[in-house]
């Protein structure tokens, strides 16, 4: 008889939260921003928190990066409790907040050098690390510029470079491409993909659906401070949001019974038919012909079609079927 081999302990997930909550006390009473979020992000994952503005994404990232103190629940980053040991967490994370928090009194190179020194690098190592990041992020010819003189895209690149000086276990990016032009955005996406390909764990918040779809291994859809659904993009689409959503809007309000007369409710392949004001919305697994039937049924009832849309399964339809609301960016 031999003793069973002792298994090495599994590495802790890069990020874990349990019923994480934040309620802000204001003069108008308590405002819950995050209402019990459970997340688990593995090492090496590219994870997205997707939700409209005001969904609680930034508050969540604030709690994970120790800048916002939770009012309930717990959270660990790299296995370290964010409330019990915020300094330990800060050593292991790189953070790019939404704002341009560059040190405007310093040059581009100094921003990287001093950040490196804040994380304990000596003068020579700090200079070497700064140079390496300047080259990698295409900022070498701007090294002596004062940080205020950078363009939006350059500033964002410097913010990301600065967040990486100390080889963080987890890189947090809060709305990294908000306000950037499309070309800069795609360029930034490519950089993030390369970092991820080399094993960098990344948590990103975004309110752009296509950003989450383009970058993330897994996504949590967040709204009103809660996770509505989480999984890979494909899992989400196969779940609640597998439907194609067909919306037809008429010139005048839809009369009662129109939806029934189309024969769509209850038909196999049709999940749901909703009538609201001047529009009918159909959630369908088999969307073929639905649009035509809505137009025909409308014409028979004397309604003219104003516009029509067919959304194939996407994060947007996931959001629509989870909340009943269209995604607003």
């Amino acid at each position: 008889m031999t003793e069973p081999a002792v298994q090495p302990p599994a590495p802790p997930p890069a990020i874990r939260t349990e019923d994480l909550r934040k309620t802000y006390k204001t003069s108008r009473g308590d405002v819950p921003a995050v209402r019990g979020i459970d997340l688990a992000v593995g090492t090496g994952e590219f994870f997205g928190l997707l939700g409209p503005n005001g969904a609680g994404k930034s508050t969540t990232i604030g709690m994970l990066t120790t800048l916002v103190v939770p009012t309930g629940g717990r959270a660990w980053v790299a296995g370290i409790d964010v409330v019990a040991d915020p300094v330990g967490v800060k050593r292991r994370i790189g953070v790019v907040t939404q704002n341009n928090t560059l040190d405007m009194q310093l040059t581009v190179a100094e921003n990287l050098e001093f950040r490196s020194r804040f994380f304990g690098l000596g003068l020579r190592d700090a200079a070497r690390r700064a140079e390496q990041l300047l080259v990698a992020f295409g900022l070498a010819d701007r090294r002596k510029a004062i940080a205020t003189d950078l363009s939006g895209g350059q500033a964002k690149r410097l913010l990301i470079a600065r967040a990486l000086v100390h080889k963080p276990d987890v890189l947090f990016l809060d709305e990294p491409t908000a306000g950037l032009d499309p070309q800069t955005r795609v360029n930034l996406w490519d950089m993030l993909r390369e970092l991820h390909a080399e094993g960098q764990t990344i948590l990103l918040t975004t309110h752009y659906m296509e950003e989450a779809e383009a970058l993330c291994d897994r996504v949590a859809v967040v709204d009103h401070g809660e996770v509505l659904a989480a999984g890979t993009i494909d899992e989400l689409k196969e779940g609640a949001g597998a439907d194609t959503v067909i919306t037809v809007r008429y010139e005048s309000p839809v009369p009662d019974g129109l939806a029934v007369r189309t024969g769509l409710p209850g038909r196999p392949g049709i999940s749901k038919v909703e009538t609201e004001g001047d529009q009918v919305r159909v959630f369908a697994r088999e969307p073929e012909g639905v649009l035509g039937e809505l137009v025909t049924a409308g014409a028979a009832a004397g309604l003219t079609v104003r516009d029509a849309a067919q959304l194939r399964p996407s994060l947007e339809t996931v959001f629509l079927s989870l909340t009943g609301r269209e995604y607003r960016e």
């Binding site: 120790t66 800048l67 916002v68 103190v69 300094v87 800060k90 050593r91 994370i93 907040t97 704002n99 341009n100 928090t101 560059l102 040190d103 009194q105 310093l106 001093f114 020194r117 804040f118 994380f119 304990g120 690098l121 190592d125 070497r128 690390r129 390496q132 990041l133 990698a136 992020f137 295409g138 990486l164 000086v165 100390h166 080889k167 795609v186 360029n187 996406w189 490519d190 950089m191 993909r193 390369e194 970092l195 080399e198 960098q200 659906m209 296509e210 779809e213 383009a214 919306t247 809007r249 919305r281 516009d307 849309a309 067919q310 959304l311 194939r312 996407s314 994060l315 947007e316 269209e326």
Partner: protein, 307 residues
Amino acid sequence: MTTTTGTQQAGAASAALPSRALAGSGAAAIITDAPEPHPTLVRTFAAMMAREGRVLRRNLIGTFTRAIMQPLLFVFVFTYVMPKIGGSGIFGAGAAAGGATFATILLPGLMASMLFMQGIMAVTFPLVMEFSWQRTIEDRALAPVPIRVLAIQKILAGAVQSFLGALIVIPIVLLVHAPGQSPHVNVTDWPLLAVILVTGSLLTASLGLLLGTLMDPRKMQMLFAAILLPATMLGCVYYPWSALHSIRWLQIAVLINPMVYMSEGLRAVLTPQTGHLALWAILLVLIGVTALVGYFGTKAFARRVLN
């Protein structure tokens, strides 16, 4: 609006791994070929102070001009121009203090005034900026130290500037004056001078932190009108506290002003012959208020940073 069309293909086109978005040796080097960080409290703190030093050096001319102009012009007008044009009669304070020249009264007073102004300017103004607009304070808050250590670093950096500001006054007052108007300085206790200067600069920097943390940026002009101006005008800068005996209510009222204890403390060590508040009271207030304001200032700062 319902006119949206499918967007899920938007990202797919660019999903293929790009040839090279990161230049140089690329992402691999950024992650693997990086020096191992070993932050300690002392190293991080020292690096933050070094950053202040770099900024101070870069803005040297501006900072120096700001620091030198007020005492220089003041001394020029009151110890050179006024005596020359026969305005010495207005300086009853000097007479009340045993016939001391006005420069003798001014030296400790202006030094205290500089301690106060520079301490507040060096801490409050940048801090209000850091808390507003882009909230750049978040950057420093992510450094691997507790938030209160960051607050203490801000106090210390401000205190250094405040201390240097007070020293600038000395050569100005010693050099700029009309003939016969030179100040009579008589330092016997150098360590005590150091203690007064150090506690005074720490006090103003702590006060600067508290003000910068609590201040609404839209009310910045209030800082000058409601705090800096009354504190200096009623801070025994231009007259010794003892000279106020003829306005007894004011003499008692100004005791709530911490500036009084800086002026009088410096008087006690630089120009003791003009008379001054009891030394025990000066030290008690300077040390006590520094501790109190420092405690509440760092606490309020941490609360505000960690909302």
